[in-house]
Symmetry: C2
Subunit: 194 residues, 2 copies
């Protein structure tokens, strides 16, 4: 990786962290410059504006890590148990700062979906992709699932409950509520089977 690529990647990483912690709007370019130890000219050489930097963080950092987080769980032979293990493991492995900061994608959705079309469409695409992944994985074991289920609806419900739990945790500053919700979420998911 060339020096320029390193600089660009460093900006992306730091920006991703800052946006995760403080949200997009509250993220200050000057803080990013300080942490990267570069000048404003350097940043504007690599990114044409703050919003373009935001889009790049979304596409090059958030989306890949998001998919890498969900994919393994859904790729299991039994996606039901895969999801349950995924939620349980996430609950166990999460440290305090992650609990407080929530899911980067969900945060951006809450903050930016209704004020910036560029973010909205990217988030929407991501949500639809995740939902399709869940639907596909559940379809593979459809024979063992209750026949009355609408998988599309079930998938959105799972994601909603999960993201809602990250929101709940922010105010309590601990894993307790997250634990409770994911626990009930697992009970729900398992109840999808016949």
């Amino acid at each position: 990786m060339s020096d320029a690529e390193k600089t660009r990647q460093n900006i992306l990483d730091v920006a991703a962290d800052e946006i995760h912690q403080h949200g997009y709007k509250a993220t200050s370019l000057s803080v990013i410059l300080e942490r990267c130890a570069i000048s404003k000219g350097a940043l504007y050489y690599h990114f044409s504006s703050k919003i373009e930097l935001g889009y790049a963080v979304f596409e090059e950092i958030y989306v890949p890590t998001f998919l890498n987080t969900w994919q393994p769980a859904l790729a299991q032979k039994d996606p039901i148990e895969g999801l349950c293990e995924f939620f349980t493991a996430m609950c166990n492995n999460m440290n305090c700062s992650e609990v407080v900061c929530g899911c980067p994608l969900n945060n951006l959705c809450e903050e930016m979906a209704n004020v910036d079309e560029g973010f909205r469409l990217r988030i929407l695409a991501m949500q639809e992709k995740l939902n399709q992944l869940i639907v596909d994985s559940l379809s593979k074991i459809e024979a063992s699932l209750r026949p009355e289920l609408e998988l599309d609806q079930v998938a959105y419900f799972i994601v909603s409950a999960f993201h809602g739990s990250t929101s709940l945790s922010k105010s309590s500053r601990n894993k307790e509520l997250f634990q409770k919700v994911t626990s009930e979420l697992c009970r729900y998911i398992r109840s999808l089977k016949k």
Copy 2:
């Protein structure tokens, strides 16, 4: 109501609307002043700072309307059906702007819970109160519910799924996803019965 009280109430109403639309941080005092047709001196006569105005909006606008929204549903003889009707009605009655803006309390939770302790504690108290309301209402029909349920856990799960659905709707800009999630939420809630 005296003129001063009218002024104060007007500031609260306008601020509540602005915060709902753009979030707390992005809400500009100057916009509030314009919409109220008052000067900055007037605002700072009634509220000592922007954050105190935010707290007042939370306590005097958001909390009462929030409780007034949930209470009737939970006060029904059968809270299970009460909640289902509540969610369905909400889905039917919501206009586009409400879909896009989401739940004011959930928005504030996402935006402010991890950056301002004053907001965090107020939100936490509200969440615990709502959860207690749900637990109490479910307890009344506990005999008709599945015995293995942990009501505290169930209540937080319901709220999570609901708030998650408002988040989902923001990116799609329509009621479709909200409809799907609440539909599945109703199916889940009804499945709590024996």
